[in-house]
Structure formats: structure tokens, C-alpha cells
Symmetry: C2
Subunit: 670 residues, 2 copies
Amino acid sequence: MSVYLLDIPLAEAQTRLLEALSKANLWRILGTETIPLDESALYRVLAEPVWAKNSSPHYHAAAMDGFALQAEATAGAQPSTPIQILLIDGLVEHPGPAAQYVDTGDPLPAWANAVVPIENVETVDKDGVNMGNTRAPTAIRLRAAIAPWSHVRPLGEDIVATQLVLPSGQVLRPVDLGAIAAAGHSQIQVSRKPRVAIIPTGSELVPIGEPLIAGSILEYNSLLMAAQIRAMGGEAKRYPITADDLDLIGRIVREAASQHDLVLLNAGSSAGSEDFSARVIEHLGQVLVHGVAVRPGHPVILGMLDTSLGGSSTRTPGLRTPIVGVPGYPVSAALTVEIFVEPLLAKWLGRPSFKPDSEVAELTHKVTSPAGDEDYIRVAVGKVGRKLLAAPLARGAGVITSLVRADGLLVVPPGIQGMETGERVQVRLYSSRADIDRTIFCVGSHDMILDLMAQYLMANDRRLVSANVGSQGGLIALGRGHSHVAGSHLLDPASGDYNISYIRRYVPGAAVSVVALVRREQGLVVRRGNPKRIKSLHDLVRTEVAFMNRQRGAGTRVLLDYHLGKLEIAAESIRGYSQEEYTHLGVAAAVASGRADCGLAIAAAAQALDLEFIPLFKERYDLVAVREVAESDLLAPLWRLLAQREFREAVSRLPGYDVSVMGQLILEDG
Amino acid sequence: MSVYLLDIPLAEAQTRLLEALSKANLWRILGTETIPLDESALYRVLAEPVWAKNSSPHYHAAAMDGFALQAEATAGAQPSTPIQILLIDGLVEHPGPAAQYVDTGDPLPAWANAVVPIENVETVDKDGVNMGNTRAPTAIRLRAAIAPWSHVRPLGEDIVATQLVLPSGQVLRPVDLGAIAAAGHSQIQVSRKPRVAIIPTGSELVPIGEPLIAGSILEYNSLLMAAQIRAMGGEAKRYPITADDLDLIGRIVREAASQHDLVLLNAGSSAGSEDFSARVIEHLGQVLVHGVAVRPGHPVILGMLDTSLGGSSTRTPGLRTPIVGVPGYPVSAALTVEIFVEPLLAKWLGRPSFKPDSEVAELTHKVTSPAGDEDYIRVAVGKVGRKLLAAPLARGAGVITSLVRADGLLVVPPGIQGMETGERVQVRLYSSRADIDRTIFCVGSHDMILDLMAQYLMANDRRLVSANVGSQGGLIALGRGHSHVAGSHLLDPASGDYNISYIRRYVPGAAVSVVALVRREQGLVVRRGNPKRIKSLHDLVRTEVAFMNRQRGAGTRVLLDYHLGKLEIAAESIRGYSQEEYTHLGVAAAVASGRADCGLAIAAAAQALDLEFIPLFKERYDLVAVREVAESDLLAPLWRLLAQREFREAVSRLPGYDVSVMGQLILEDG
């Protein structure tokens, strides 16, 4: 087992690839093709600049429906002294002042140099009687002079023949297609789409939709990467899953390399016992880089393949096909494609590389980073008041939902080992600012209703981004101005009331609004059949019972401690009291998998994972917001939602919820 | 001729359409379809929320290549007092402390609760001899204790079964496809693509690629709109051009309406003699709105069609198909689709309507607007220093290149009749901020080399946006901080030198860099064969010669005035002296079309339009920038370009250019 990967800095890894491609004469547009100018040209990349073949308009055109005439003939026209001009049919050259009806777009008669719009004239019959707007007047009457070339679109107003319409490298938008057509072209030269082979390997992989057994992993990286390639302007081919077999992988890689511009070999790029990628690439060509100092994505391999090797190929020998050994975790795979493949496709297509907008935001939680690595931290981005905030999402490379939820990336450079809460950081944005502006940051206690709310709010032009840090963490975030709203169910052991005393402590000095969301049941979650016969908190001290706790500051933990105190049960007597999960579903999942026998959670979490639920307590769950924010446009759809029948019914259908309090104003300062 | 359109405010027009659609039960998702989860699902819109079918991971998985063990067995391990744990093959349940090799992603054995990464252990043989990393060790040795659940991805780390993965209305990105797959789905419910019929009408229209005669208009609106519809998630069908024939148009509209969700009837929406759209819609249904107070796009028609009318249709009667009478000018057509059709498609697809980001920018030129209309002004956007600038582009509704060049829209509300230079305005951005950041604003004199420069700079990650306001206008803009660089060829009649004295006047107090671009010939442009036998400036005073001048402040005009002065020719004696064009090509186009007999311009302009050129003078054309901007990263590729052989050769090939001075530093203050 070769376990040592090199930690090559990202820039050097990119340089090595660029140099190898330059050497193979592949650091350029791969090829061009002529395609007809129709809708299918949308988003293709111009391989040649477009110069205008004709002017547009290609003649002097009437810009309005009206009458063409010589501007000089209108000189002296006044409201009190109108000038009358004879209408002609345009077929004869008329000796004196004359006017001729023209529709918008009609060519200006050669003798005319202006158009007077129809709404600015009176039409009269041959005796000079005003006719109104009829179809057969014999003259027009004007009460104002007009300037030469009024209401005329002169030849070349839009485009002059030979001018540059669009530079090469342009990614074609709808208006570009129109302008190219206007300039006289009916076909265009675009760069051909780079062809990318995606080869998933791993005996543990199963295709999407297949039933799962322990140890089997759904193969969806190839789908993710194929969609990325497509979005970047390339063409992807997904190969079937290949088992961990060195020869087989080698054979498929060679075949794929001979038919594609780039090969992405997924997984097998680290140094485990079944990681064959490096060996395959070494055998068929050259490994340029194995291991880059980026996280996630560290075990990436960059190489060049010689498709004439190892078979009966008649190809010219030489390292002609780049290959990327893509790490197996989905976040690593997606970032590897963004970091290494996108610039390559951009070059091959001749377009500029994607450059995300970037913005300074305030970090809502500290992050630590491994020294020496460039660390890509996914963040949710929201705006509270005037402050743009970046909330770090789950760090694991296996957590694809962290990419789904990400509004941007915080890139921590190699020299820096961490960043503090409140630090101002540069964030590369994925989401548009318009999307960020309609984002509600809900930080605090987790409840499954938040998922439902997110779904309903989508239809009301709001995105609900919820971060689960427990009730106390939510109130602290609210106090710092790091969220719009906090979900909280903190029991005050002294008063028996919820949240208020905690709000005074963690959100001091601010006028707040507290609105009840639901009353809900808390209880013990156990496996089906309740094999350990757990009935109450007293059972937690039994040595054969393993408990799963919530983190410090979670309302559920406060609730537990309150009742343990009342029952005089010592925390130390409970096995697992120090084991923490961050959500109700996390606790339920721990029970479902046997990591624990029970945990305190809400009924919906038990139902979600088909577990049994032993109801113990009822508690109120509130939404808390600073008054000013609560009254903002941003939050209005949230409050409206609490009164919406459809939503209330959907919540009622979940087990253990009582919506009778929903929307009730608990406290409103100010 | 019915010439009076109503000026319905935009909001009311939109409301009328919405109400008619609601009444027809069409203000909703049109329909859904189940599609397989593959790359073709990219950018489709989820019609149903996606809830997780399974957890991910669906078992406790090793997060690293290493050894699974019970964390408790490592308690007390220290660098000086390592703990040794026996390796087992995993097939037997071992009684004592044991470890088992696992690859990343392998399920954790039921008896284990942690993984120690392979790089953190020593492997030893049965006699306790350190073996290094070989394939058949019998035990591992650890020199540090590990915590339970280290390097394990617990069940549900990414996704817990039943949680919301994505809300309905989500436009699917690559990572979304991955997450949906991870959550156990192999197909998804998406909204079906709305079907839009696009019917171009007009006897004057010719298809793209056909030869042009005066009065014929290239029909490219249908292409532009079809591409817009596609970009918005719909499916467009382009009908062939229909002549101006009321019955024929009616027949085709009815057929299209019966097969599509929306009909776009292009042109014929104003009130000219051949504008049939309103009559057709009235005949087949109901006109809701004719004429909206927006510019461009004013003559838009909104209506509803009853496809059971007027034929043998067996459809249920009722106003069931919306129709938009789209104005004929391309800018109007594109904006009509953005304003009226996009929100409709968004509703039908169930996704949020596009919301462009918006930004405050400083207006570089005053604009005037018709009172009462919502005015959509296309602007180029660039950043000079810290100031974001909005430069208004050509206003004509026929100027599609104004949309091509637009980085954004300035929407002037109905109540406001104009905005001043320097005013801070809100701009809806089309371009990304990253694109704006790489934009070089070149304002000043026009030269065709600027087109070439734009083309070459594209390959160097820069966009050159040039506005032609003449040399003097360019220096004034530079002095105001409204551009990065000015092109100028202003002759100082006193010194015989170029630009310097003007720079001191218009860019006072700033350190500037002046770099020569070219020496070029100026001369008289005349039609082929020089029918009026024009040879020098003396010919301009002949009464049968019509001249076309450049605007005040243009370097070419200064040059003309200088030589007229030397020759003692009075400006008033020249017919057309007061007629102004803004570019060399504009002058040439005026000559080509017969609007004038001659004009002073550069040779390249004459060549472009196949005209004759009578060389008269040579002049130097410089690029001027404020020193600090000149030395910025943004402009570096521009200066490098001046030394690039390929670019210099391309310029040399244009007639009348001398590149020997190119890149020469004329002046560098400071």
C-alpha cells in the first residue's frame, strides 16, 4: 500500500497540466464547426469573430408609420399657419413638394429626407377639408416644421457593414443570435464541444435506483460530473461502473482515451488497497501530479495518456489525452471538476473561464483549516440588515447537500489555519445577489417543520436557509445580528415559561417579536419493539442502555436536564450522556443504526426513521426575530404562512404537533 | 387607419393578463412529467419537492482508509507507551480488542466504533517487529488514543431519510442531480416545458440568409425570441413568415393556439396600414391590452384566444390561449418577451421569476425620457477606480446591437423625464460583476482598430467597450473619471502637435500617460467612380456637392476646420457642413447611400463600404489614460497588445494605417 501522496500546491499542479497540454499542442481551441444560425446555437461559443456582411438597416427606413417628405418643404409651418402638402402614390416622381404614405420599415423614397408621423398631421381632401384619419386623403397639413432625417432610420443605424458584431469567444445569448442574423449571416463558426469520458470505478458502487445493502454506494458522481460538463459547454459520456480490476480499468481507460478529449476516472485516486487509478495512468502514460494541497479534493491525480500504448492502436505515439483521477467523495469530485476541468474546457472552447462574482461577508462561525492546504469551505450567504453573512456549512467531503445549500465558497489560503467568528471574508458567490436578497436565515433549533416552511416559502419568492445550532446557539446568533429569525424552545426551569428569559440574556437591549410556531411532543425514541423496554427517564441509568444526547445549548438538552434534575438523576449515571448529535433526526438515526438505544427527540423524527416513540413532555417552539427585521418585507411571507390553511394542515398531519398556537404573538417589544 | 393606441401602465397591463389567465385557470404549473434522473434533467424545474427516500450514507461508513476498532481499546496510548491491537480478517467475531482493515466507504464492522487512518499507525508482524507498510501485518501499533466515532461517516451524515432535499420550483443544477440521486431517487417529477408558437408576419420580411433588396427586412425576431424562450425553460416553434393577409394570419394563429400554450404574433401590433394583429385577436378572442406605457415595446398587444372559434374545432369554447402581439423592432420584441413572457413561463414552470441583480451606478451622459412611459435604457457598465459607471447606449428600438452591448438596463419610471450626467441610478445587471470588472471603457474618437483590439483583448480576459463620442468628448469623459482610456487625434492648430494641449484643458491636474496607437490617413470619401469629380477641400464649396460632417469635438472635424482655415474656406459656404455623423463609418454610409456626396474620414471606412478614398492628410491617433489607471492590471493586456506582432500585422493590413509609432510613449506625467 503506497500511502504517501504528495501535497503539490494548486498553482503548481495547474501549471504542470498546462505545460503537458502545451507540449501536446492541446492548449488551444480543439476544433471548429460550421452550424446553421438557429436556436440550437444558443450558448455555443464563437470560434471566429463575426464581422458584419451587410449594414442594418441596409437602406434608409421609415422609423414610424407616416408620410415621407422633404423636410425643407415644412419650413415655416406653425400652429396658426399650417403648410399643406399634396399626397402622391410614390410611383411617379413629383415636381413640387409632395408627401407619400409609408409604413414603419418602408424604404424612404429617394426624393424624401424625413418622415412625419401620422399622428402629427391632419389629412385633408382636395378641397382642403379636414378628413380625420381616413384611407383616401389627397393632402396632409402640418402645423410644425420638421428637421431633415427625422423619424428615419438611416442606413447602418444599427450595424455598418464590416464592423465587428461579436468577438470570437463569445458565448452566444439570444440577442447575439439576432445581431448575427441582422449582420447578414445564416451560419456561424463555433468551437466543437469537447468530449469527456466519465468512468466510475469501484466494486462497491451500485447504479442509481438499485436497492442498497450495507457497504454499497450509490454511483451518482458520474451524473453530477456529466451535468457539470454539459453546463460548461462540453459533451459527456458516462461509462458503466467498472469493478476494481486493474486490467479491466486499464482497457476501458485506453478505449475511452482514444475516443475522447479528456478522461475522468472516478475514485481509486487515493491510496487505499483498491485504488488503481495512479497505476493505470502510469501504465498508459504519465502521472503529472498525485495529490494536490486542496481540501476537499486532495487525492486528485493529473496525468497524460498515450493511447498508442498497450494495444493494437494505430495512433501516433505520444502523451495526447489528459486524464484526471477524480477523488470519490462527491464534494471532492464536484470541486475537482470546477478547479481543474472548467479552465481546460474554457480553453478548448475558446471562451473565458467562469469567474464567480465575489463579495465580502461576515463569518458567522469560526472555521479551522489544515495548514498547507487551500481549503474550500461551502457557505450559505444571507443579508441581515446591511450585513452580508457567510455561514459555514458541513465540512465533510461526503456531504453533497453542503454543495446544494452553498451560496458560495470561502477559500482559505494555504498559509492560514482558521478564521474567527465575525471576521470579514471574501466569498466566491454561486447564487445571484437577487437570490441572496430573498433568503431568510433561520438559525437555531431544528424542527422538521422548517423543511415544510422552506417548501411553502419557495412559492412566495423566499428561500429559507436553516442552520441547526440549537436554541441557545440560535439566540446568540440573533443577538449578533447573524440571522433573521431563530427557532427556540428553551424552557426556563425557574418560570416554567419558554424562551423569554433566554432572549433577554442572549439578545440584550433589542426589541424582539416572539411568535409561537407549534406545541410539540418530546419523548424517547427507541427501536421497533422497544427491545430494551425503555419507558421513562429512569431507564437511562440502566447499564445496558446507551443514550444519545443533544449538544449543549439545544432546547431538548435543557428539557432533559430540567427533568433529570426534578427526578434527581445524575447525568454521569447515564451512559452516552456525553455523546452528542445536532438534530432530532441525528438522534433518531443513531438509534436506528444501533449506535444508541434511545434518545430524547420529537415524534416526527421517530416516524421518519420508522422507530418507536414514547411521549414524555409537551413543549412550545417559538420563532424569534428582532422587531425591525420581523417587520421587514423579507419576513412578511413567513408570518403570512403561519395563517395559511394548507400549511397548518400539512403540519397537523405530522405526528406530535399541535398547531392551535401557531402564529400567536407571545411577545412584541417596543 | 386606427392610429390611437392606449397607454396602459405596465403594472395594469400585467394585472389584466394575470386576471385573464386566472379566470382560464392558467395561472399555475401547466403540467408535470416524470423523467429519468440523468444529465438531461439539468435545468429542468422540480414540480414536486424531493424528500429523501434513504439516508446517505445509509450505514456507518469508514471515512478514511485505515483500521476499524473500538475507540475504548486505544485509551492510554502515548508516544512512549504504544498500544498494540491484533488484526483480524473481519469474518469472525473476535473476543478481545481487535482491528480490521477498511477502505474508505466500507461499512464499519458492528463491533467497531472508530477508524484510525492508516497513516497514523505502525503495522507489525506477530513478533512485534515494525514492518512498515506491507500487505500482511498481524497487528497495528498506536501511539495516541482516538475518540469514539473518529473517521466514521455516521448513517445520515449527509441526508437523513424523509428530510427535504430540494423544494419544488428548484431549477436543477448539477449538484442537485447528485443530491437527488444520493437521496435514493432514480426519477423525478418536473414541470413540462411550456410550448410557445412564434409567428412572424409581414410581406416585407425575408428569411435569414436570403439576399436583400431595399425595403426587405431580415426576419430574425423569431430566432431571437425562440432562443429567449429556450433560455427561459420553454419550447419554441418558429412558424414560417406569413404575408400581410388577415385571413391567412387568422388561420395560422388559430392552428398555433390549438397546439401551444402561448402564441407570439410578431409585428403587426402597431397601427400602420398593414397591422393586422389586433384585428386577428379580436376576431379569435379578446384583446386585453393594446398599447402599454413602456419604451421600447409600446405597441404590445395582450389577448386571449378562443380556439374553438371560427373553424371546425371540437375544443371547449372559452378564452384558453394567451397571445402576445409583439412589436416589430428587435429591441422591443426582446424586451416584450422579458417583461411579459418570462413571468408567465416562470409561473407555468413553477420556478421563481428571473430577478436580475441590481447596482447603483453613475450615469456618464444625460438621458431624456418621454413623460408617462416606463423607459428601458440599455447601458454599458464599467468600473473606473471605485466608481461603477453606466453609459447609455443607442436608444433606437431597431438597434439590436444596443442589447448585445448592454451590461444592464436603466429603467426610468413614468414620472421622470430625464436623468443628468453624474446622477446615481439603479441598473438591472445582465452581465456578471466579474465581467464588469474585466471591462475596459474606451470613450472617445472612433477608429476601426478598436474593433480589432476588442477581438484580440477577448483572448486576454478583457472586454473592450468603446463609446464613440469624438476625441474631445473622450477627453472630457476621461477628466470626469468616466472612462479608462480615451482615443484621441486632436490637432493643436498652434503647435501642430496632437492631443497634449487638449489633455491639459480637459483633464486638468491629472498625471496622464499618452501612448501612440497609429498614424493614419484622413481623406475624402466619395462614391465609386467619383461622379462629382471631387479632388480636394476646394470642391466642397461647389453647390452641387453635398458634404457630410462629423460632430463638434470630433478630431476629424478639428482637422477639417484647421485645413479650411488654412485654405480660407468659410464653413457656411459648404452645403451639409451642419449635417453630422458620429463615426467614420457613419460618414461613409451617408456617402454610400447618397445622403451626401463626400465626407472626411479614414481610408478603412471607405474600403468597408466599397467607396473611393482621396487621401489628404496624415495624423496621429493616441490612447490617453490617467497614469494610475494606465498602470493598473486592467489595462496591462491593452499595452501588451500594442507590442504583439500578430495584432500589429492585422492593423497594417487595413488600408491607410502606419503602425511604426504603435506603443510609443508620447507623454508620461508624474
